[in-house]
Symmetry: C2
Subunit: 204 residues, 2 copies
């Protein structure tokens, strides 16, 4: 199959649509929808978020040196979208959307959102202007999983979080679990055991 050559664009896909929260000294908590987010390092854990300099949250994050990435499940889609198109300059978006701010361990100002399945609290390591966006790299200093998604066996049950994915302007639900990392070279008995477990997580 051949390719049709197109004007270059930012079409990496799917990306994680996340709610980034921040606050400051005498600045109320705000939430911003971010699609340009990624994991950039494993040890120590680091994530990046890219934010336009004109966005209200940009200077709050730069000045406070903190942000929290809140993963988003299906039931947060309306709030997430709203926080992507409206500005914290004009209103208290988190309140408007009925989201609940709670303390995120290790953060001086930035809250987590209680409705999120999992939060990653980050301290800003660097900010790099790239053009339309500034790239913030954050070191994950604490992480919290919503208690209904914490399995006592020590497993984070993200498969029950109904996480959203974002692709080319559209929000999607995650569909069926299809395989596990390393399945292509797994021993047959391991493969069968793991795939049975994975299929058990498919609720539809």
């Amino acid at each position: 199959m051949a390719f049709v050559k197109l004007k270059p664009g930012a079409l990496l896909s799917p990306v994680p649509p996340v709610l980034v929260t921040c606050a400051g000294e005498n600045i109320r908590p705000n939430g911003l929808a971010v699609g340009w987010a990624g994991t950039v390092n494993t040890i120590p854990p680091m994530c990046s978020v890219s934010i336009r300099p004109g966005r209200y949250s940009h200077d709050i994050i730069r000045d406070s040196g903190e942000f929290v990435i809140n993963l988003c499940g299906k039931d947060m889609m309306q709030a997430l979208d709203y926080c992507g198109v409206r500005s914290g300059r004009d209103e208290d978006k988190l309140k408007k959307c009925g989201l609940t701010c709670v303390e995120a361990e290790g953060m001086q100002y930035a809250p987590a959102v209680a409705e999120s399945p999992l939060y990653l609290a980050c301290k800003v390591e660097s900010m790099t202007p790239l053009g339309s966006h500034d790239l913030f790299i954050g070191r994950v200093v604490s992480m919290g999983v919503r208690e209904d998604l914490w399995d006592e066996s020590g497993r984070i049950a993200l498969d029950r979080a109904d996480l959203l994915a974002y692709s080319h302007g559209t929000y999607y639900e995650l569909g069926k679990a299809l395989g596990f990392f390393g399945f292509s070279v797994a021993r047959k008995d391991v493969y069968q055991k793991r795939m049975k477990e994975l299929r058990g997580t498919n609720r539809k």
Copy 2:
């Protein structure tokens, strides 16, 4: 709902599981599975990929200054996983997986993979060591969409690409389209029209 506090980890989710291809002067094309990828800028379009310094592709990308991000559909899952657990030092993984290298516009060495729904050909702008991984930022200099996904009306039909998502060690298919960017503030007639179109893209 309260949070259970856990040791910080790299749990941003879902992330795009992509096949990154590279090559060099007298170095055959190689493919590497990358989960730590993200969009970092819109204008000009830029993406990041984080790669461990010990990986075979790392030095090829650093020295050639090029890489291609190939998005992955369901039918590439086996190949993608294999390219994540085996090394190009030991074998020609792309050949072994039956993937076809084709020219990616603007690249001197790095190919695209013909089976991919869409490729983003990148020139390295910077490489930043972060710890376990080095962060490569690439400017997207060309983009190609597989011709069966190019709609003559000028739409990239990524919804027909059966893209994979990756979350916490598991490959997922994208499920139902649930909403479009801005839906939460759309006028009622616009909302209804767009949602009808979106539902039409849900094949299951």
